[in-house]
């Protein structure tokens, strides 16, 4: 069926209303485009949905979670670190949204289908890349080269950080560039001590700073600074942490050019083979199952990394039998996540007359120090540490021996201080780590689901083992006692929720899906800016980079549209 695009429904369609969809909506509407955002799930408003002030005694299960619901409907999503009794509503129903993996290769694929997507529940840590990261594939002769360098993205990092508000401390590190930071959050006294001891022991080679976090420490654009109530992932009535719901979607709405349709699941994109353009987006209404196609002059895919790849793979045509924009065969391939659960913790003697007041939505950060100056013999690339110091509360002693008044007193007393470092490690792209369309299974709306085949490689495992070693070294330098490495073994791939790489950028259409503008090689009006576009993974939390790439791609897309190239 030929779809005439002489009078499209909208100037732009954005698939997804989360981290990158929200930025696409903001930029495209501010640049004058009438924009339709298609969101698979329900609408969200802080005034109705925010639950961060609900106290434990007001929760039905006092924080133990709705076990029966979770065990029947969210057996996979419950593995996410911020999944809890009040936030679980922000993760999908696993029964309606299944996927498969090989039996010996578990993969945690977390999805968040509602307005705001995973920007409602993310960890809010934001770190820039440098050319140490952008040049890595070329330097190591691995996969393909990034088609951009730091200087291409730097102005867009500035733009994004200024808008979302990032609290942090400038450290002058070439491989972790500073930005226009709001005032940094404070260390605890123990963390201050640890920072000083690390500086003294390691000089500049290893340093500990406060986390760079997308939480306001000053008012910004009508959003209030954080009041340290704690659980951002449950909601934020003061809009203090960045999510698309708190910041970018309101900005888009303010232009009067945004239409956001919730309950709109994108099944596939429609290609007009004569013009090599996406002519429409096929949508199934999540509630009524009614189907319709929306048309636009330009389409931004921002459905989250693996979901965007799924949409492309499910958009087959004579011209693209392996999926839209998949002439290279790379769509769905090169899945990367960050390897975690390496690190250590130890007891810090002293400060028994000190505590923290307020729940700081941030921790400490130790930037990558491996393979920065000298080459490590066992692995390439590197990892950063997050973590912090705290005193154990009653939960730590809930199974301790004892009854009676002394037991009550012990549980009511804060335990000794402990300091923890947990690593986030880079993963190399490998073609065999891939998502493919399942031959028979479909989701609750009849859309074919994915089979995800992904496992850590030897470089990740060597890098992960090093985390335990160096975390112990940092703790030793700090004077910690009873140092215990993290004994969990490497994280399950996907668990970090930094999955990316499934429609990578590159310099050559034979080996990549997108060009330097996040534009599909063969389809000029199709852009993809979520984690799928990533050519390598670095070790830094990636959402900031996704947002910067999105803003940059939007400005390019609109310029191209205006000169008639799309």
């Amino acid at each position: 069926m030929l779809i005439q695009n002489t009078n499209p429904d909208y100037d732009a369609i954005v698939v997804g209303s989360g981290m990158t969809g929200g930025w696409a909506a903001k930029e495209l509407t501010e640049l004058g485009l009438r924009t339709l955002v298609l969101e698979a799930g329900r609408p969200i408003s802080p005034e109705k949905d925010a639950a961060e002030h609900v106290q434990p005694w007001e929760m039905r299960f006092r924080g133990m979670g709705d076990r029966r619901h979770v065990e029947s409907r969210q057996r996979m999503q419950r593995n996410s670190v911020s999944f809890d009794e009040l936030s679980h509503r922000y993760w999908t129903d696993d029964v309606d949204n299944p996927y498969t993996t090989p039996a010996d290769k578990p993969f945690h694929w977390f999805r968040a289908r509602q307005e705001g997507g995973k920007s409602l529940i993310w960890g809010r840590q934001v770190y820039r890349w440098s050319d140490l990261d952008f040049e890595a594939n070329q330097r190591d002769s691995i996969a393909v080269d990034w088609p951009i360098r730091y200087r291409d993205l730097a102005p867009w990092y500035d733009r994004v950080e200024r808008f979302i508000g990032v609290s942090g401390r400038a450290e002058g590190l070439a491989h972790l560039p500073d930005g226009p930071f709001l005032p940094p959050m404070d260390f605890s006294c123990v963390e201050e001590h640890v920072r000083e001891r690390i500086a003294a022991r390691f000089g500049g080679e290893r340093l500990m700073t406060i986390g760079r976090v997308a939480v306001l420490t000053e008012a910004l654009n009508g959003r209030a600074p954080c009041h340290y109530c704690g659980p951002c992932h449950r909601g934020c009535i003061t809009r203090s942490y960045f999510s698309s719901v708190n910041a970018t979607l309101p900005a888009a709405r303010a232009t009067g050019r945004l239409t956001l349709r919730p309950f709109s699941i994108v099944r596939s994109l429609v290609l007009d083979p004569r013009s090599n353009r996406v002519s429409g987006v096929q949508v199934i209404d999540a509630q009524t199952r009614a189907e319709r196609t929306y048309t636009a002059r330009v389409v931004f895919l921002c459905a989250s990394a693996i979901e965007s790849a799924r949409i492309l793979l499910n958009s087959r045509s004579a011209k693209f039998p392996d999926g839209l924009a998949n002439a290279s065969g790379q769509v769905g391939r090169n899945i990367m996540d960050h390897i975690k659960w390496g690190g250590a913790s130890g007891e810090m003697e002293g400060w028994s007359d000190k505590r923290t007041v307020g729940a700081r939505p941030n921790g400490i950060y130790v930037p990558r120090f491996r393979n920065v100056g000298s080459k490590h013999p066992d692995f390439i690339r590197g990892y950063g540490f997050q973590g912090g110091a705290n005193r154990a509360g009653w939960q730590g002693s809930a199974r301790a021996p004892g009854i009676g008044l002394d037991f009550k007193r012990r549980l009511s007393t804060l335990g000794p201080w402990s300091m923890t470092f947990g690593g986030f490690g880079e993963m190399l792209p490998r073609e065999e780590n891939r998502a493919t369309v399942h031959p028979t299974r479909v989701d609750a709306w009849g859309i074919p689901v994915l089979h995800i085949d992904c496992s850590w490689g030897p470089n990740e495992l060597a890098l992960y083992r090093d985390m335990n070693v160096t975390a112990a070294e940092l703790l030793e330098a700090a004077g910690a006692r009873n140092i215990r490495p993290d004994a969990r073994g490497p994280s399950t791939p996907g668990n970090t929720n930094h999955e990316m790489g499934t429609a990578r950028m590159g310099r050559d259409p034979r080996t990549s899906v997108l060009n330097q503008w996040n534009q599909a090689w063969d389809i000029p009006n199709l852009f993809l800016t979520d984690g799928a576009c990533m050519t390598s993974s670095a070790n830094q939390n990636p959402s900031l980079t996704y947002m910067a790439l999105t803003a940059r791609a939007c400005h390019h897309a609109v310029a191209e549209l205006k000169r008639g190239a799309l």
Partner: protein
């Protein structure tokens, strides 16, 4: 931080602009109606409730600070058994609780709830020691599934997530308004 303080703080930081249209007094209440829940079924018979109440109070007694009864622990245990545990776990718990009365009668001829405090402490301490022995033998999963392990854990959880405990004993600050990384701390006496 009390309600009035929060509103003063928000006004001072010009954060209220983000919340136009909201009645200020509703700020602290936001989200709570959404998450309010109705009453649960009751699982515990009067006899079991008596024993559970007496045991919970002995595990975390009232002193100059609230105890388990003040904190509503028995009702919490009842609701969790009805709505959270599965039928096997519930059956195991209900089969185990009469052991409190059996052991008390062996000591003093009276049911657990009617026994003198010293006898109650002796019965519970012996049970607690059995849990400790299991843990030392590397059988922590069994200890956690043991009916007394369940009772004690639910007592602790129900107590420390209760409003009386949070407000009085732990000095929790639901809405502190600031982060102080080096505040003074004094352990309870």
């Amino acid at each position: 931080m009390e309600r009035r303080e929060l509103l003063r703080w928000l006004a001072a930081t010009a954060g209220l602009a983000a919340l136009e249209g909201l009645a200020p007094d509703d700020l602290l209440a936001l989200g709570r109606e959404v998450h309010a829940h109705g009453a649960s079924r009751s699982t515990l018979s009067p006899a079991v409730t008596r024993a559970v109440t007496a045991a919970a109070e002995r595990i975390l007694p009232a002193s100059d600070t609230p105890g388990a009864t003040d904190a509503g622990v028995p009702g919490f245990i009842d609701r969790m058994l009805a709505d959270w545990f599965n039928s096997d776990e519930r059956a195991g718990f209900l089969a185990g609780i009469p052991e409190l009365d059996r052991r008390s009668r062996a000591r003093s001829g009276r049911d657990f709830a009617d026994s003198p405090e010293t006898d109650q402490i002796a019965v519970l301490t012996a049970l607690d020691d059995e849990l400790t022995a299991l843990r030392r033998a590397g059988r922590a999963v069994e200890a956690n599934r043991h009916w007394f392990g369940m009772l004690k854990y639910l007592t602790v959880w129900g107590y420390f997530t209760s409003e009386p405990a949070a407000r009085i004993l732990l000095g929790t600050f639901p809405l502190p308004g600031r982060f102080d990384g080096c505040a003074p701390y004094q352990a309870p006496a």
